[in-house]
Protein backbone atom coordinates (compact mmCIF):
# COMPACT_ATOMS: atom_id res chain seq x y z
CA UNK A 1 0.00 0.00 0.00
CA UNK A 2 1.49 3.38 -0.93
CA UNK A 3 2.61 5.64 1.89
CA UNK A 4 0.96 8.67 0.32
CA UNK A 5 -1.66 8.84 -2.41
CA UNK A 6 -2.44 12.24 -3.83
CA UNK A 7 -5.53 12.52 -6.02
CA UNK A 8 -6.71 15.49 -8.07
CA UNK A 9 -5.14 18.11 -5.87
CA UNK A 10 -6.23 21.59 -6.89
CA UNK A 11 -4.77 24.57 -5.08
CA UNK A 12 -5.82 27.96 -6.38
CA UNK A 13 -4.83 31.46 -5.26
CA UNK A 14 -7.52 34.11 -5.36
CA UNK A 15 -5.70 37.34 -6.16
CA UNK A 16 -6.68 40.77 -7.34
CA UNK A 17 -5.68 39.83 -10.87
CA UNK A 18 -7.64 36.65 -11.04
CA UNK A 19 -7.52 33.06 -9.86
CA UNK A 20 -4.07 31.57 -10.14
CA UNK A 21 -4.24 27.83 -10.66
CA UNK A 22 -0.97 27.01 -8.98
CA UNK A 23 -1.61 23.27 -8.66
CA UNK A 24 -4.17 21.96 -11.13
CA UNK A 25 -5.32 18.36 -10.87
CA UNK A 26 -2.14 16.83 -9.45
CA UNK A 27 -2.14 13.11 -8.71
CA UNK A 28 0.69 10.82 -7.74
CA UNK A 29 1.74 8.14 -5.29
CA UNK A 30 4.79 7.40 -3.26
CA UNK A 31 5.67 4.10 -1.64
CA UNK A 32 7.38 3.52 1.68
CA UNK A 33 11.09 4.19 1.41
CA UNK A 34 10.79 5.42 -2.16
CA UNK A 35 12.69 8.43 -3.51
CA UNK A 36 10.55 10.62 -5.74
CA UNK A 37 11.73 13.69 -7.59
CA UNK A 38 9.51 16.57 -8.69
CA UNK A 39 11.08 18.69 -11.38
CA UNK A 40 9.88 21.95 -12.87
CA UNK A 41 10.62 25.62 -13.46
CA UNK A 42 9.74 28.36 -10.99
CA UNK A 43 5.99 28.68 -10.92
CA UNK A 44 5.37 25.14 -12.11
CA UNK A 45 3.51 24.31 -8.91
CA UNK A 46 6.00 21.92 -7.38
CA UNK A 47 6.45 23.84 -4.13
CA UNK A 48 2.76 24.66 -3.84
CA UNK A 49 1.95 20.97 -4.09
CA UNK A 50 4.21 20.20 -1.17
CA UNK A 51 2.91 23.08 0.90
CA UNK A 52 -0.62 21.86 0.25
CA UNK A 53 0.26 18.45 1.63
CA UNK A 54 1.75 19.98 4.75
CA UNK A 55 -1.05 22.47 5.33
CA UNK A 56 1.30 25.40 4.83
CA UNK A 57 -0.59 27.19 2.09
CA UNK A 58 -1.73 30.61 3.35
CA UNK A 59 -5.51 30.57 3.17
CA UNK A 60 -6.41 33.34 2.13
CA UNK A 61 -5.46 33.98 -0.60
CA UNK A 62 -4.82 30.31 -1.27
CA UNK A 63 -7.44 27.64 -1.14
CA UNK A 64 -7.33 23.90 -1.60
CA UNK A 65 -10.26 23.63 -3.93
CA UNK A 66 -10.46 19.86 -4.20
CA UNK A 67 -8.51 16.65 -4.01
CA UNK A 68 -7.31 14.21 -1.43
CA UNK A 69 -3.96 13.17 0.00
CA UNK A 70 -4.31 9.91 1.87
CA UNK A 71 -1.40 9.26 4.18
CA UNK A 72 -0.72 5.75 5.37
CA UNK A 73 -4.10 4.64 4.05
CA UNK A 74 -5.88 6.41 6.87
CA UNK A 75 -5.69 10.22 7.06
CA UNK A 76 -6.59 12.66 4.32
CA UNK A 77 -4.09 15.44 4.89
CA UNK A 78 -6.22 17.91 2.99
CA UNK A 79 -9.38 17.35 4.92
CA UNK A 80 -8.36 16.39 8.43
CA UNK A 81 -8.55 18.72 11.42
CA UNK A 82 -5.69 20.97 12.42
CA UNK A 83 -5.18 18.79 15.45
CA UNK A 84 -4.75 15.63 13.42
CA UNK A 85 -2.49 17.42 10.99
CA UNK A 86 -0.30 18.66 13.81
CA UNK A 87 0.09 15.08 15.02
CA UNK A 88 1.46 14.04 11.68
CA UNK A 89 3.59 16.90 10.53
CA UNK A 90 6.90 17.23 12.24
CA UNK A 91 6.64 13.67 13.42
CA UNK A 92 5.77 11.37 10.55
CA UNK A 93 6.13 13.80 7.67
CA UNK A 94 8.89 16.38 7.88
CA UNK A 95 9.95 19.17 5.56
CA UNK A 96 13.21 20.85 4.73
CA UNK A 97 12.92 24.30 3.19
CA UNK A 98 14.77 26.12 0.52
CA UNK A 99 16.32 29.06 2.30
CA UNK A 100 18.25 28.16 5.44
CA UNK A 101 18.95 31.80 6.17
CA UNK A 102 15.32 32.65 6.82
CA UNK A 103 13.87 29.32 7.82
CA UNK A 104 15.39 29.18 11.27
CA UNK A 105 14.08 31.35 14.10
CA UNK A 106 16.75 33.98 14.76
CA UNK A 107 15.46 34.58 18.27
CA UNK A 108 15.80 31.00 19.48
CA UNK A 109 18.88 28.96 20.19
CA UNK A 110 19.69 26.13 17.83
CA UNK A 111 19.21 23.63 20.61
CA UNK A 112 15.68 24.76 21.39
CA UNK A 113 14.59 24.67 17.78
CA UNK A 114 16.32 21.40 17.06
CA UNK A 115 14.72 19.40 19.83
CA UNK A 116 11.34 21.05 19.49
CA UNK A 117 9.75 18.29 17.34
CA UNK A 118 10.59 15.76 20.05
CA UNK A 119 8.95 17.90 22.71
CA UNK A 120 5.91 18.86 20.67
CA UNK A 121 5.06 15.25 19.95
CA UNK A 122 5.86 14.04 23.43
CA UNK A 123 8.43 11.57 22.22
CA UNK A 124 10.69 12.09 25.19
CA UNK A 125 11.51 14.49 27.99
CA UNK A 126 13.78 17.48 27.68
CA UNK A 127 16.94 15.91 29.03
CA UNK A 128 16.71 12.99 26.63
CA UNK A 129 15.75 15.33 23.79
CA UNK A 130 18.89 17.38 24.29
CA UNK A 131 20.98 14.23 24.07
CA UNK A 132 19.30 13.22 20.85
CA UNK A 133 19.67 16.71 19.48
CA UNK A 134 23.38 16.63 20.06
CA UNK A 135 23.63 13.27 18.40
CA UNK A 136 21.59 14.51 15.44
CA UNK A 137 23.89 17.47 14.97
CA UNK A 138 26.89 15.20 14.93
CA UNK A 139 25.22 12.89 12.45
CA UNK A 140 24.74 15.71 9.97
CA UNK A 141 28.32 16.73 10.29
CA UNK A 142 28.27 19.90 12.35
CA UNK A 143 31.72 20.21 13.89
CA UNK A 144 32.12 20.98 17.58
CA UNK A 145 28.45 20.21 18.06
CA UNK A 146 28.50 20.18 21.84
CA UNK A 147 29.61 23.77 22.03
CA UNK A 148 27.70 25.12 19.08
CA UNK A 149 24.32 23.69 19.93
CA UNK A 150 23.67 26.63 22.26
CA UNK A 151 24.42 29.20 19.57
CA UNK A 152 21.97 31.26 17.58
CA UNK A 153 21.33 30.73 13.87
CA UNK A 154 23.11 33.86 12.74
CA UNK A 155 26.34 32.44 14.09
CA UNK A 156 26.19 29.60 11.56
CA UNK A 157 27.00 29.67 7.86
CA UNK A 158 24.38 28.85 5.23
CA UNK A 159 25.58 25.32 4.71
CA UNK A 160 25.66 24.66 8.44
CA UNK A 161 22.17 26.04 8.86
CA UNK A 162 20.88 23.73 6.19
CA UNK A 163 22.45 20.83 8.02
CA UNK A 164 20.69 21.96 11.18
CA UNK A 165 17.40 22.09 9.27
CA UNK A 166 17.96 18.55 8.08
CA UNK A 167 18.85 17.33 11.55
CA UNK A 168 15.73 19.06 12.87
CA UNK A 169 13.53 17.43 10.26
CA UNK A 170 14.92 13.97 10.81
CA UNK A 171 15.11 13.98 14.57
CA UNK A 172 11.75 12.24 14.90
CA UNK A 173 12.69 9.66 12.28
CA UNK A 174 9.79 10.54 9.97
CA UNK A 175 8.41 8.17 7.38
CA UNK A 176 8.37 10.84 4.69
CA UNK A 177 10.74 13.72 4.11
CA UNK A 178 9.76 16.51 1.75
CA UNK A 179 12.81 18.44 0.61
CA UNK A 180 11.85 21.67 -1.16
CA UNK A 181 14.90 22.71 -3.19
CA UNK A 182 17.24 22.25 -0.21
CA UNK A 183 20.35 22.91 -2.25
CA UNK A 184 19.21 25.88 -4.30
CA UNK A 185 20.15 28.58 -1.83
CA UNK A 186 23.57 27.30 -0.79
CA UNK A 187 26.98 27.41 -2.41
CA UNK A 188 27.84 24.92 -5.10
CA UNK A 189 30.43 23.21 -2.97
CA UNK A 190 27.92 22.75 -0.20
CA UNK A 191 25.22 21.46 -2.54
CA UNK A 192 26.99 18.20 -3.11
CA UNK A 193 27.53 17.74 0.63
CA UNK A 194 23.86 18.32 1.40
CA UNK A 195 22.83 15.88 -1.29
CA UNK A 196 25.18 13.24 0.06
CA UNK A 197 23.91 13.85 3.56
CA UNK A 198 20.29 13.32 2.64
CA UNK A 199 21.20 10.24 0.65
CA UNK A 200 22.95 8.81 3.66
CA UNK A 201 20.09 9.58 6.04
CA UNK A 202 17.58 8.13 3.63
CA UNK A 203 19.60 4.97 3.52
CA UNK A 204 19.90 4.70 7.27
CA UNK A 205 16.30 5.54 8.12
CA UNK A 206 14.64 3.89 5.15
CA UNK A 207 12.28 6.83 4.78
CA UNK A 208 10.53 8.04 1.66
CA UNK A 209 11.80 11.29 0.20
CA UNK A 210 10.12 13.76 -2.12
CA UNK A 211 12.84 15.92 -3.62
CA UNK A 212 11.63 19.08 -5.30
CA UNK A 213 14.07 20.80 -7.63
CA UNK A 214 14.54 22.60 -10.89
CA UNK A 215 17.84 20.85 -11.42
CA UNK A 216 17.63 17.67 -13.50
CA UNK A 217 21.11 16.66 -12.47
CA UNK A 218 20.10 16.25 -8.84
CA UNK A 219 17.23 13.85 -9.50
CA UNK A 220 19.44 11.79 -11.74
CA UNK A 221 21.70 10.95 -8.85
CA UNK A 222 19.12 10.29 -6.22
CA UNK A 223 15.49 9.70 -7.16
CA UNK A 224 14.19 6.40 -8.39
CA UNK A 225 11.11 8.00 -9.91
CA UNK A 226 10.51 11.51 -11.15
CA UNK A 227 7.52 13.70 -11.93
CA UNK A 228 7.81 16.63 -14.29
CA UNK A 229 5.50 19.56 -13.66
CA UNK A 230 4.57 22.44 -15.91
CA UNK A 231 2.04 25.22 -15.31
CA UNK A 232 0.63 23.51 -12.26
CA UNK A 233 0.15 20.13 -13.87
CA UNK A 234 2.10 16.92 -14.02
CA UNK A 235 3.16 16.33 -17.60
CA UNK A 236 5.24 13.22 -17.19
CA UNK A 237 5.84 10.56 -14.55
CA UNK A 238 8.45 7.85 -14.96
CA UNK A 239 11.35 5.95 -13.42
CA UNK A 240 14.18 8.46 -13.56
CA UNK A 241 16.29 6.41 -15.91
CA UNK A 242 13.49 6.16 -18.42
CA UNK A 243 12.81 9.86 -18.05
CA UNK A 244 16.26 10.63 -19.27
CA UNK A 245 16.75 7.97 -21.91
CA UNK A 246 13.24 7.52 -23.25
CA UNK A 247 11.32 10.64 -22.41
CA UNK A 248 7.74 10.80 -23.58
CA UNK A 249 6.90 14.48 -23.28
CA UNK A 250 8.17 17.36 -25.41
CA UNK A 251 8.67 19.58 -22.38
CA UNK A 252 10.93 17.10 -20.65
CA UNK A 253 12.87 16.70 -23.84
CA UNK A 254 13.22 20.46 -24.18
CA UNK A 255 14.44 20.65 -20.56
CA UNK A 256 17.09 18.08 -21.24
CA UNK A 257 18.14 19.86 -24.38
CA UNK A 258 18.57 23.04 -22.36
CA UNK A 259 21.26 21.66 -20.11
CA UNK A 260 24.30 23.70 -21.15
CA UNK A 261 26.83 21.04 -20.28
CA UNK A 262 25.26 18.62 -22.71
CA UNK A 263 25.30 20.92 -25.70
CA UNK A 264 28.04 20.93 -28.34
CA UNK A 265 30.63 23.63 -27.84
CA UNK A 266 30.52 26.66 -30.05
CA UNK A 267 26.85 26.46 -30.95
CA UNK A 268 24.17 28.82 -29.76
CA UNK A 269 22.67 27.64 -26.48
CA UNK A 270 19.26 26.08 -26.85
CA UNK A 271 16.43 27.77 -24.98
CA UNK A 272 12.81 26.84 -24.97
CA UNK A 273 11.08 29.54 -27.04
CA UNK A 274 8.36 31.61 -25.45
CA UNK A 275 7.55 32.02 -21.77
CA UNK A 276 5.60 30.05 -19.15
CA UNK A 277 1.89 30.82 -19.26
CA UNK A 278 0.02 33.24 -17.04
CA UNK A 279 -1.64 30.94 -14.53
CA UNK A 280 -4.41 33.42 -13.78
CA UNK A 281 -5.89 32.87 -17.20
CA UNK A 282 -7.73 29.71 -18.10
CA UNK A 283 -5.70 27.37 -20.22
CA UNK A 284 -7.65 25.17 -22.59
CA UNK A 285 -5.80 22.14 -23.66
CA UNK A 286 -2.11 21.52 -23.18
CA UNK A 287 -0.35 24.33 -21.32
CA UNK A 288 2.94 23.71 -23.14
CA UNK A 289 1.44 23.79 -26.63
CA UNK A 290 2.29 27.44 -27.43
CA UNK A 291 5.98 26.62 -27.04
CA UNK A 292 5.98 23.07 -28.37
CA UNK A 293 7.49 22.16 -31.72
CA UNK A 294 5.14 19.22 -32.03
CA UNK A 295 1.95 21.09 -31.27
CA UNK A 296 -1.09 20.55 -33.48
CA UNK A 297 -4.66 21.63 -33.35
CA UNK A 298 -5.72 18.76 -31.16
CA UNK A 299 -3.29 19.95 -28.47
CA UNK A 300 -5.48 22.98 -27.83
CA UNK A 301 -8.51 20.90 -26.95
CA UNK A 302 -9.29 19.51 -23.50
CA UNK A 303 -9.16 17.06 -21.86
CA UNK A 304 -5.45 16.77 -21.31
CA UNK A 305 -4.80 13.96 -18.87
CA UNK A 306 -1.91 11.91 -17.62
CA UNK A 307 -2.08 8.45 -19.21
CA UNK A 308 0.18 5.46 -18.76
CA UNK A 309 1.79 4.58 -22.08
CA UNK A 310 4.28 2.01 -20.78
CA UNK A 311 4.46 0.20 -17.42
CA UNK A 312 5.29 2.81 -14.81
CA UNK A 313 5.61 5.56 -17.40
CA UNK A 314 2.84 8.13 -17.88
CA UNK A 315 2.65 11.21 -20.05
CA UNK A 316 0.16 14.01 -20.62
CA UNK A 317 1.07 14.58 -24.24
CA UNK A 318 -1.94 13.59 -26.36
CA UNK A 319 0.16 13.10 -29.44
CA UNK A 320 2.46 10.65 -27.68
CA UNK A 321 -0.55 8.93 -26.17
CA UNK A 322 -2.03 8.32 -29.59
CA UNK A 323 1.34 7.28 -30.94
CA UNK A 324 1.43 10.10 -33.46
CA UNK A 325 4.95 11.02 -32.46
CA UNK A 326 7.74 9.31 -30.62
CA UNK A 327 10.50 11.32 -28.97
Amino acid sequence: MPLLTVNNLRTYFHTRNGVVRAADDVSFEIEQGETLGIVGESGSGKSVTCYSLMGLVPQPPGKIESGSAIFDGKTDLLKCSMNELNHIRGKRIAMVFQDPMTSLNPYMRIEDQLIEPLLIHGICGRAEAVKRGLHALEEVGVPDAAKRIRSYPHEFSGGMRQRVMIAMALITKPELLIADEPTTAVDVTVQAQILELIKKMQNELGMAVIWVTHDLGVVAGFCRRTLVMYAGRIVESAPTEQLFHRTKHPYTRALQQSIPALQPKGTELYTIPGAPPDLSKRIDGCAFAPRCEFAREKCGKPPIELKTVEPGHATACVRVQSNEISL
Binding site: N17, P273, C292, E293
Partner: protein, 301 residues
Protein backbone atom coordinates in the same frame (compact mmCIF):
# COMPACT_ATOMS: atom_id res chain seq x y z
CA UNK B 1 1.03 23.57 -42.41
CA UNK B 2 3.35 23.70 -39.49
CA UNK B 3 2.18 27.10 -38.51
CA UNK B 4 2.49 26.67 -34.80
CA UNK B 5 3.10 29.35 -32.26
CA UNK B 6 6.54 27.92 -31.73
CA UNK B 7 7.61 29.20 -35.11
CA UNK B 8 7.18 32.76 -34.06
CA UNK B 9 10.27 34.39 -32.66
CA UNK B 10 9.87 35.37 -29.00
CA UNK B 11 9.89 39.04 -29.91
CA UNK B 12 6.66 38.71 -31.79
CA UNK B 13 4.72 37.71 -28.76
CA UNK B 14 1.79 40.07 -28.61
CA UNK B 15 0.54 41.53 -25.40
CA UNK B 16 -3.18 41.34 -25.10
CA UNK B 17 -3.53 44.97 -24.01
CA UNK B 18 -1.03 47.71 -24.43
CA UNK B 19 0.94 47.79 -21.22
CA UNK B 20 1.63 51.33 -20.25
CA UNK B 21 4.29 51.84 -17.64
CA UNK B 22 3.44 53.92 -14.60
CA UNK B 23 5.84 56.06 -12.69
CA UNK B 24 6.16 55.53 -8.95
CA UNK B 25 4.36 58.79 -8.26
CA UNK B 26 1.44 58.02 -10.45
CA UNK B 27 1.17 54.59 -8.93
CA UNK B 28 1.24 56.13 -5.46
CA UNK B 29 -1.38 58.71 -6.39
CA UNK B 30 -3.53 55.92 -7.73
CA UNK B 31 -3.23 53.94 -4.54
CA UNK B 32 -3.88 56.99 -2.42
CA UNK B 33 -7.03 57.77 -4.30
CA UNK B 34 -8.34 54.31 -3.61
CA UNK B 35 -7.90 54.80 0.11
CA UNK B 36 -11.17 56.54 0.81
CA UNK B 37 -10.41 57.35 4.43
CA UNK B 38 -7.24 59.14 3.41
CA UNK B 39 -9.02 61.09 0.73
CA UNK B 40 -11.80 62.07 3.12
CA UNK B 41 -9.19 63.15 5.65
CA UNK B 42 -7.40 65.25 3.09
CA UNK B 43 -10.63 66.97 2.15
CA UNK B 44 -11.48 67.73 5.76
CA UNK B 45 -8.03 69.09 6.45
CA UNK B 46 -8.12 71.26 3.36
CA UNK B 47 -11.50 72.62 4.38
CA UNK B 48 -10.38 73.32 7.94
CA UNK B 49 -7.20 74.99 6.74
CA UNK B 50 -9.08 77.26 4.38
CA UNK B 51 -11.61 78.26 6.98
CA UNK B 52 -8.91 78.91 9.57
CA UNK B 53 -6.72 80.83 7.21
CA UNK B 54 -9.57 83.15 6.35
CA UNK B 55 -10.72 83.43 9.95
CA UNK B 56 -10.31 87.20 10.21
CA UNK B 57 -12.70 87.62 7.32
CA UNK B 58 -15.14 84.86 8.10
CA UNK B 59 -15.47 85.08 11.85
CA UNK B 60 -18.56 86.85 13.11
CA UNK B 61 -16.73 88.58 15.94
CA UNK B 62 -13.21 89.45 16.96
CA UNK B 63 -11.50 86.93 19.16
CA UNK B 64 -11.15 89.26 22.08
CA UNK B 65 -14.44 91.00 21.84
CA UNK B 66 -16.27 90.55 25.07
CA UNK B 67 -20.00 90.76 25.43
CA UNK B 68 -20.42 90.98 29.15
CA UNK B 69 -24.14 90.51 29.01
CA UNK B 70 -23.92 87.18 27.29
CA UNK B 71 -21.32 85.52 29.48
CA UNK B 72 -21.06 81.76 29.46
CA UNK B 73 -24.16 81.12 27.47
CA UNK B 74 -24.88 77.85 25.78
CA UNK B 75 -24.95 77.50 22.01
CA UNK B 76 -27.66 79.51 20.21
CA UNK B 77 -28.15 81.48 17.01
CA UNK B 78 -25.68 84.36 16.92
CA UNK B 79 -23.27 82.39 19.02
CA UNK B 80 -23.35 78.99 17.45
CA UNK B 81 -20.89 77.50 19.90
CA UNK B 82 -21.80 79.58 22.90
CA UNK B 83 -19.60 82.02 24.79
CA UNK B 84 -17.05 81.68 27.52
CA UNK B 85 -16.87 83.27 30.95
CA UNK B 86 -15.77 86.58 29.52
CA UNK B 87 -18.47 86.65 26.89
CA UNK B 88 -16.19 85.87 23.96
CA UNK B 89 -17.74 84.02 21.05
CA UNK B 90 -16.50 80.45 20.96
CA UNK B 91 -16.92 79.94 17.25
CA UNK B 92 -14.66 82.87 16.55
CA UNK B 93 -12.10 81.68 19.03
CA UNK B 94 -12.24 78.24 17.53
CA UNK B 95 -11.47 79.60 14.09
CA UNK B 96 -8.64 81.76 15.33
CA UNK B 97 -7.34 78.89 17.37
CA UNK B 98 -7.29 76.86 14.20
CA UNK B 99 -5.23 79.59 12.64
CA UNK B 100 -2.63 79.36 15.37
CA UNK B 101 -2.55 75.57 15.14
CA UNK B 102 -2.18 75.78 11.38
CA UNK B 103 0.67 78.24 11.66
CA UNK B 104 2.41 76.18 14.28
CA UNK B 105 1.93 73.09 12.19
CA UNK B 106 3.44 74.59 9.08
CA UNK B 107 6.22 76.67 10.57
CA UNK B 108 7.36 74.19 13.17
CA UNK B 109 7.27 71.31 10.72
CA UNK B 110 9.16 73.48 8.27
CA UNK B 111 11.82 74.18 10.87
CA UNK B 112 12.03 70.49 11.74
CA UNK B 113 12.27 69.59 8.06
CA UNK B 114 14.99 72.08 7.37
CA UNK B 115 17.18 71.06 10.28
CA UNK B 116 16.39 67.38 10.06
CA UNK B 117 16.88 66.89 6.33
CA UNK B 118 20.13 68.83 6.27
CA UNK B 119 21.51 67.07 9.30
CA UNK B 120 20.47 63.65 8.13
CA UNK B 121 21.67 64.15 4.57
CA UNK B 122 25.07 65.38 5.68
CA UNK B 123 25.46 62.58 8.17
CA UNK B 124 24.35 59.90 5.74
CA UNK B 125 26.27 61.20 2.78
CA UNK B 126 29.62 61.68 4.41
CA UNK B 127 29.49 58.63 6.57
CA UNK B 128 32.49 57.62 8.58
CA UNK B 129 33.38 59.46 11.78
CA UNK B 130 31.19 62.45 11.00
CA UNK B 131 28.22 60.15 10.76
CA UNK B 132 29.03 58.31 13.97
CA UNK B 133 29.43 61.49 15.99
CA UNK B 134 26.32 63.10 14.57
CA UNK B 135 24.16 60.09 15.16
CA UNK B 136 25.37 59.47 18.69
CA UNK B 137 24.42 63.05 19.48
CA UNK B 138 20.97 62.40 18.12
CA UNK B 139 20.70 59.20 20.11
CA UNK B 140 21.60 60.92 23.35
CA UNK B 141 19.29 63.85 22.80
CA UNK B 142 16.52 61.52 21.73
CA UNK B 143 16.46 59.76 25.04
CA UNK B 144 15.81 62.94 26.96
CA UNK B 145 12.44 64.52 27.48
CA UNK B 146 12.73 67.27 24.97
CA UNK B 147 9.25 68.43 25.76
CA UNK B 148 10.54 69.34 29.16
CA UNK B 149 13.27 71.41 27.62
CA UNK B 150 10.77 73.24 25.51
CA UNK B 151 8.91 74.01 28.69
CA UNK B 152 12.15 75.22 30.18
CA UNK B 153 12.73 77.49 27.25
CA UNK B 154 9.26 78.91 27.45
CA UNK B 155 9.54 79.43 31.20
CA UNK B 156 12.83 81.19 31.10
CA UNK B 157 12.80 83.14 27.95
CA UNK B 158 9.41 84.62 27.59
CA UNK B 159 6.35 83.75 25.74
CA UNK B 160 6.83 85.11 22.27
CA UNK B 161 4.82 82.96 19.97
CA UNK B 162 7.61 82.89 17.43
CA UNK B 163 9.90 81.33 19.96
CA UNK B 164 7.23 78.72 20.41
CA UNK B 165 7.39 77.73 16.76
CA UNK B 166 11.13 77.44 16.74
CA UNK B 167 11.23 75.57 20.02
CA UNK B 168 8.71 73.01 18.86
CA UNK B 169 10.45 72.61 15.55
CA UNK B 170 13.71 72.09 17.35
CA UNK B 171 12.15 69.16 19.16
CA UNK B 172 10.84 67.35 16.14
CA UNK B 173 13.86 67.37 13.85
CA UNK B 174 15.51 64.38 15.47
CA UNK B 175 13.41 61.65 13.94
CA UNK B 176 13.47 63.38 10.57
CA UNK B 177 17.26 63.42 10.69
CA UNK B 178 17.35 59.72 11.45
CA UNK B 179 14.99 58.85 8.65
CA UNK B 180 16.81 60.95 6.06
CA UNK B 181 20.17 59.60 7.09
CA UNK B 182 18.92 56.04 6.87
CA UNK B 183 17.50 56.67 3.43
CA UNK B 184 20.64 58.33 2.13
CA UNK B 185 22.77 55.53 3.48
CA UNK B 186 20.77 52.77 1.89
CA UNK B 187 20.51 54.70 -1.35
CA UNK B 188 24.25 55.16 -1.54
CA UNK B 189 24.70 51.43 -1.60
CA UNK B 190 22.03 50.75 -4.19
CA UNK B 191 23.04 49.53 -7.55
CA UNK B 192 21.33 52.21 -9.51
CA UNK B 193 23.54 54.79 -7.86
CA UNK B 194 26.59 52.73 -8.71
CA UNK B 195 25.28 52.44 -12.22
CA UNK B 196 24.85 56.19 -12.42
CA UNK B 197 28.42 56.67 -11.27
CA UNK B 198 29.63 54.04 -13.69
CA UNK B 199 27.91 55.97 -16.44
CA UNK B 200 29.97 58.96 -15.44
CA UNK B 201 27.20 61.19 -14.15
CA UNK B 202 28.44 64.16 -12.14
CA UNK B 203 27.83 64.01 -8.39
CA UNK B 204 25.35 66.84 -8.24
CA UNK B 205 23.24 65.13 -10.85
CA UNK B 206 23.27 61.95 -8.89
CA UNK B 207 22.22 63.73 -5.73
CA UNK B 208 19.48 65.85 -7.19
CA UNK B 209 18.06 63.72 -9.94
CA UNK B 210 18.56 60.28 -8.49
CA UNK B 211 18.79 60.39 -4.73
CA UNK B 212 16.47 63.17 -3.70
CA UNK B 213 13.40 61.96 -5.62
CA UNK B 214 13.78 58.66 -3.87
CA UNK B 215 14.02 60.24 -0.46
CA UNK B 216 11.07 62.54 -1.01
CA UNK B 217 8.60 59.79 -0.30
CA UNK B 218 9.51 59.07 3.34
CA UNK B 219 10.10 62.78 3.92
CA UNK B 220 6.61 63.65 2.78
CA UNK B 221 5.12 60.90 4.87
CA UNK B 222 6.98 61.87 7.96
CA UNK B 223 6.31 65.57 7.50
CA UNK B 224 2.61 64.82 7.29
CA UNK B 225 2.86 62.83 10.49
CA UNK B 226 4.92 65.52 12.22
CA UNK B 227 2.24 68.16 11.83
CA UNK B 228 -0.18 66.51 14.27
CA UNK B 229 2.64 65.97 16.80
CA UNK B 230 3.49 69.61 16.56
CA UNK B 231 -0.08 70.73 16.93
CA UNK B 232 -0.49 68.47 19.90
CA UNK B 233 2.60 69.92 21.52
CA UNK B 234 1.32 73.45 21.05
CA UNK B 235 -2.05 72.57 22.50
CA UNK B 236 -0.31 70.84 25.38
CA UNK B 237 1.80 73.89 26.17
CA UNK B 238 -1.13 76.24 25.86
CA UNK B 239 -3.16 74.02 28.14
CA UNK B 240 -0.48 74.32 30.79
CA UNK B 241 -0.37 78.05 30.33
CA UNK B 242 3.04 78.03 28.75
CA UNK B 243 2.14 78.47 25.14
CA UNK B 244 -0.20 80.88 23.50
CA UNK B 245 -1.26 83.58 25.91
CA UNK B 246 -4.69 85.12 26.29
CA UNK B 247 -6.33 87.11 24.85
CA UNK B 248 -5.07 85.23 21.79
CA UNK B 249 -6.88 82.04 21.17
CA UNK B 250 -5.61 78.50 20.90
CA UNK B 251 -7.44 75.20 21.03
CA UNK B 252 -5.30 74.21 23.99
CA UNK B 253 -6.30 77.33 25.90
CA UNK B 254 -9.94 76.78 25.07
CA UNK B 255 -9.78 73.23 26.32
CA UNK B 256 -8.22 74.42 29.56
CA UNK B 257 -11.01 76.93 30.06
CA UNK B 258 -13.53 74.28 29.22
CA UNK B 259 -12.02 71.82 31.66
CA UNK B 260 -12.05 74.35 34.46
CA UNK B 261 -15.72 75.03 33.98
CA UNK B 262 -16.95 71.76 32.68
CA UNK B 263 -19.64 71.22 35.21
CA UNK B 264 -21.53 74.37 34.32
CA UNK B 265 -20.51 74.89 30.73
CA UNK B 266 -19.69 71.56 29.07
CA UNK B 267 -19.95 73.09 25.62
CA UNK B 268 -16.78 75.02 26.24
CA UNK B 269 -14.90 71.77 26.41
CA UNK B 270 -16.59 69.74 23.73
CA UNK B 271 -16.17 71.97 20.68
CA UNK B 272 -12.39 72.54 20.84
CA UNK B 273 -11.78 69.02 22.11
CA UNK B 274 -13.63 67.38 19.28
CA UNK B 275 -12.12 69.70 16.69
CA UNK B 276 -8.59 69.06 17.89
CA UNK B 277 -9.10 65.31 18.03
CA UNK B 278 -10.74 65.26 14.61
CA UNK B 279 -7.95 67.29 13.04
CA UNK B 280 -5.28 65.05 14.53
CA UNK B 281 -7.26 62.02 13.43
CA UNK B 282 -7.45 63.18 9.83
CA UNK B 283 -3.81 64.15 9.70
CA UNK B 284 -2.73 60.79 11.05
CA UNK B 285 -4.98 58.96 8.63
CA UNK B 286 -3.65 60.97 5.75
CA UNK B 287 -0.09 60.28 6.83
CA UNK B 288 -0.79 56.57 7.11
CA UNK B 289 -2.47 56.59 3.74
CA UNK B 290 0.49 58.35 2.17
CA UNK B 291 2.84 55.88 3.74
CA UNK B 292 0.89 52.94 2.39
CA UNK B 293 0.64 54.51 -1.04
CA UNK B 294 4.30 55.40 -1.31
CA UNK B 295 5.79 52.25 0.14
CA UNK B 296 6.69 50.10 -2.84
CA UNK B 297 6.92 46.95 -0.83
CA UNK B 298 3.70 47.31 1.09
CA UNK B 299 1.53 45.96 -1.68
CA UNK B 300 -1.24 43.97 -0.09
CA UNK B 301 -1.78 41.85 -3.12
Amino acid sequence: MQDTLANQAPNDIQFSEAEVGTSLWRDAWHRLQKNKMAVASAVIIAALSLVSAFAPWIAPYSYEEQNLELRAVSPRPGHWLGTDALGRDQLTRLLYGGRVSLMVGIVATGVALLIGVTYGAVSGFFGGKTDIVMMRTVDIIYALPFTIFVILLMVFFGRDIRLLFVAIGAVEWLTMARIVRGQVQSLKKQEFIEAARALGLPRWRIIFLHMIPNILGPIIVYATLTVPSVMLLEAFLSFLGLGVQPPMSSWGLMIKDGADRMEECPWLLVAPGVTLAATLFCLNFLGDGLRDALDVRASKD
